[in-house]
Amino acid sequence: MMSLLLMVSVLLSIMLGPMTLPAKQSLLSILDKLFGSDFSQLNAFQTAIIWELRWPRTLLAIFIGALLALCGAVTQGLFRNPLADPGIIGVSSGAGLGAAIAIVLLPASLSYLTTPIAAFLGGLITTLLVYRLAQSQNGGTSVLILLLAGVAIAAFSGAIIGFMTYIANDMALRELTLWGMGSLNGANSISIWLSALTCLGLLMFYQTQAPALNAFLLGEAEARHLGINVEKLKLQLIVVTAIGIGIAVSATGIIGFISLVVPHLVRMTMGPDHRVLLPLSALTGAVLLLMADIGARVILPPAELPVGLVTALIGAPFFAFLLIQQRKRLSTL
């Protein structure tokens, strides 16, 4: 079902934008590209729009959406807390801070390399920090501290990013602003390949750890008694997730709420078993981000909203809804 939805969204993403292309011809153009045929009657200009502008962007949306949703699902499992989201607990801000420092302070010619690495390091340090902070005596993580840590880290990163903006030169400033709102505009072959490989790598790695993650949800001690090397598992998950978030943030900036909303939707329909949750979250994340990006392009034509704005518009009310739903449980903490 989800795969079908993904295909439909891909087609829509190719068709829609400031200039709408006919559905049938767009579909034919994809077939042409795949099989080297010549069915499509689009002119060269329209073909260029598809293959130069919309196709790379579509691919990036798919991989980043999948990556964000995967990282969200695993973060929630790692913290044993359905409200833990890389955006809300500050990991994305940390990665964003790393990326901003790299964009402004490091040479622009190397930025395709330094930005992802710096974003990864920023994400890693914040994840470790938040994990330490939120660890409570009984082995669980405290929601209150998680959210407050997120607020603190976001404020701190915001301040440093502001400072970076202040001292940045024109070129770095342009890049910083473009990327700060979360946009799929910057799709290029490097970012697409990088996110595609990371996405596949993470999916495969997480899948091997899915049974262990299920056991981990019972509690650390319980997982240990089930023969799982808990310390190693935690460290691996933290590092790998920080890589995922780092790559995502460096490619598109901070796109919030996909990582919170998607795993929840999947859990509501399919249950929390990670063996099912992880691949389905990846697929759903891809569809949702693609849809959000289509929305970003068609809401105010010919202008284009940053996709981060659209996901926040959908995601923030959803987060509020979750809070209301869990109010009873949370107020006792």
Binding site: R80, N81, P82, N138, G139, G140, P211, A212, N214, A215, L217, L218, G219, A221, E222, R224, H225, L226, G227, I228, N229, R267, G271, P272, D273, R329
Partner: protein, 253 residues
């Protein structure tokens, strides 16, 4: 099968638990008794490796616990915690099935084993309900089914640690659960260490009693040997009356 020697656990330079010598053979059910803060939970946590012992050795099947591989140990040592913090909406039977995932059962076998152990713990009727919606006692029995599934993969007699297994159960379930544990000892050779609060339950089901007080093992032996009215007075500060029921089992009121 379990042999404990010179065990000493300290925390912040304060002695929490001292156990010079204790042992357990296959098929035995030991009740750990003692007032609050006597070190009962610490004992469970130390035996299962959650807390490192500062001194001493614990041998399971003549092999020190450190020498066991994680997987092998998981098949032979199971722990039922007092409460679980699971907050994700698993179905009860999915929780039980987690008892098998890191180990080595075939999928068909897992399904059968889940049903078997859920029936044994009287939880099969809510196999499809969401775990977080169950009552405390029901959850605890689901967890017990999970631990028993885990131990059903053992190659030698397994050791089962129970941290207050009856605390959340009603009277009928308490006895049903202890009967189940007892039959696992007698028929499957389980060795069980269980924290209990009810002295008469200990007399009725346990083969041995380990009496803890202020972190020390002050007495061990058969229930009638250990649970004398004067001992109870000394440890709990309550003077009970001693009766005998029709089967000659002693009862403290």
């Amino acid at each position: 099968m379990l042999f404990i020697e010179n065990l000493l656990v300290t925390q912040d330079h304060r002695q929490i638990l001292s156990l010079p010598k204790a042992s357990l053979v296959s098929g035995e059910l030991v009740a750990v008794l003692g007032p609050n803060g006597a070190g009962k939970s610490s004992l469970i946590k130390t035996i299962c490796g959650e807390w490192p012992a500062n001194q001493g050795q614990i041998y399971l099947h003549d092999k020190s616990l450190q020498q066991w591989s994680r997987q092998q140990l998981a098949k032979h040592l199971g722990v039922l915690p007092q409460a679980s913090q699971l907050s994700f909406p698993f179905k009860a039977q999915e929780v039980v099935a987690i008892g098998a995932t890191p180990l080595s059962l075939k999928r068909r076998d897992i399904e059968n084993a889940v049903q078997k152990w859920m029936q044994a713990t009287d939880t099969w009727q809510f196999a499809d309900r969401i775990y977080t919606s169950l009552s405390g006692g029901e959850r605890q029995r689901v967890q017990l089914a999970r631990v028993l599934l885990q131990l059903s993969q053992a190659e030698h007699a397994p050791l089962l640690l129970l941290d207050e297994p009856t605390s959340a159960q009603d009277l009928g379930q308490q006895h049903q659960l202890l009967n189940l544990v007892k039959s696992l000892c007698q028929q499957n050779g389980f060795a069980v260490i269980s924290i209990l609060h009810d002295l008469n339950q200990a007399s009725r089901y346990a083969d041995k009693v380990w009496l803890l007080h202020q972190g020390e093992l002050v007495a061990q032996g058969s229930p009638p040997q250990v649970l004398q009215p004067e001992t109870v007075m000394k440890i709990w500060g309550y003077q009970p009356e001693l009766f005998f029921n029709s089967q000659g089992q002693q009862i403290l009121v």
